[in-house]
Symmetry: C2
Subunit: 314 residues, 2 copies
């Protein structure tokens, strides 16, 4: 006899250049089962897609086909949502301009939703994370690059082809560092884990230091500690300028930050908040109702959001 | 005997620091009657509100109470929509933090909607202007200041208290000219009719020249003409940087420009479009579907949009 009731669940996939993860998550936000592995970058497109399909099939086999609401895949890059491919994928170049969504759907024999990873993370934070209490928020993922996800009225703001939310490529320094996107002075060139590492190198603090290491260094009562604190202050100013623009444009109640720079929150937040307050009348006029806060789901946000996509589309 | 049918109409008001206008407009976008006058700035709050109430009552008296869908008022400033007052009104300081909406509603004995003038103009362009064919657009009004209005999914993006869309106060030059909003390098300090006039003064072209005069000068085959063309090129670069940020954030299909700088379109558009293309991957990836174009309703846009507010709220 078949079970008369099984919880409705969805499968979310977070595909990064280094790792991929997949999880079966129920409608209440409970992770039923998770799978993770290294992205087989060297194996190329076929290997990467094969590993994803295998992970999804394993989850689907164990948790049931009938009660599966859908499959969502979050991946870095400029995504053309409506067409289902990645127009610009620095981390996974061999997926660029390939019909990723339709190929996964074909192999799995069911519909798949493809979404930008930061959009998925923003949705995840809205569903079960720091954004639960609001319908409108912006999430910035401050890691190797800077991703952005915008939730407006409870839904992902996607724009005409699904490329909305590329906040990491908004200009904060008009004549600043050149970016792979063709622009100069992009936010991700001036306020990412990568930019912190680059500044640490320029200040002779070390080669290839992680943002976490620069955060640890900022705790030291030494000349190095002072340099590290200056780096985080500059980081906070750049981030604050971008946030002021976002507050002026959206007047949303919540702006969440996540990624590898969060351990340095105490070192960059004062300069960031001072800059936002100085540069945004709206921010000052809406205190304390406009909040800038750390996201709470960490690396899991994208996985939750990818799973939730199936319900959002209903 | 009463007429058995009268067209449903709405009253829109556009209240500026210099002039105010009111119009009865029917559901099809036809102006049934318009009234305009000088804003009695010297007379203060009582005189200004009295003139508006009188104009609305005149229109309502002639076009009927029963078929009036509603009354919308567009005014410059940071508007707290939900509370119905202007938090920051440079042009009409005595209306600042005064319950404008509720006071008008009380005197007229009916509901009134208060809206930012650029938001209203964006809605007007979407209704009967250059944005008719899309559901998502951004309008920039490039006049004395720079206003912004964002239409997302056919509705005004308002944000938490109604201050969304203040694009004129986004930063284009981080260490640039100080602005009344507290920021430095605001778009409206670097790409407005006022900034063009200021540059013309600095370049010894004339004192208090209008943007239109600087546009005329740009046509001259002389040293002055060359200076004027450089001013418009710089203007185009600043505007292009702001538009690139908007395209990256929204990925909307349409960005409209209006205001006193439009006569110089041919002089600033090339630098503007070149800058957007260079600074926005999304713009390049979505050509020719992402368009930057002149708005078509001119000063009438806000009046149409203010009238349409009543139907939008339904």
């Amino acid at each position: 006899m078949m079970p008369v009731y099984m919880a409705d669940y969805s499968i979310g996939v977070d595909l990064g250049g280094t790792n991929f993860r997949a999880a079966a998550i129920d409608r209440g936000g409970k992770v039923l089962e998770g799978i993770s592995g290294a992205t087989n970058f060297a194996g190329g497109r076929e290997a990467v897609l094969g590993d994803i399909v295998e992970a999804i099939e394993a989850l689907r086999g164990r948790h049931g086909r009938q009660t599966l609401a859908g499959i969502g895949v979050g991946v870095a890059g400029f995504i053309r949502i409506r067409e289902g491919f990645i127009a610009n994928a620095n981390n996974l170049p061999y997926l660029e301009n390939f019909p990723v969504r339709d190929e996964l759907a074909r192999r799995l024999g069911t519909k798949v939703i493809l979404e930008n990873d930061a959009n998925a993370a923003a949705l995840g934070e809205k569903w079960v994370g720091a954004g639960k209490s609001v319908d409108d928020l912006v999430l910035l993922t401050l890691g190797t690059g800077v991703g952005g996800g915008i939730i407006s009225g409870g839904k992902i703001l996607r724009g005409a082809v699904g490329m909305a939310g590329e906040i990491g490529h908004t200009t904060v320094v008009p004549g600043g560092n050149p970016c792979g996107c063709g622009n100069q002075g992009c936010l991700e060139k001036h306020a990412s884990a990568t930019s912190v590492s680059a500044m640490a190198g320029m200040m002779h603090l070390g080669v290839d230091m992680s943002a976490r290491a620069v955060a640890e260094m900022a705790r030291l009562d030494s000349e190095e500690g002072q340099k590290a604190r200056v780096i985080w202050r500059v980081f906070g100013e750049s981030l604050g300028a971008a946030l002021a623009t976002l507050v002026n444009i959206f007047n949303f109640p919540l702006y969440l930050l996540s990624g590898g720079v969060l351990p340095a929150w105490e070192f960059f937040a004062p300069a960031m908040l001072e800059t936002v307050a100085r540069r945004s009348f709206t921010y000052r006029a809406t205190q304390p109702d406009t909040r800038i806060a750390p996201a709470t789901l960490g690396n899991e946000a994208g996985l939750y959001g990818a799973a939730y996509l199936s319900w959002l589309e209903e």
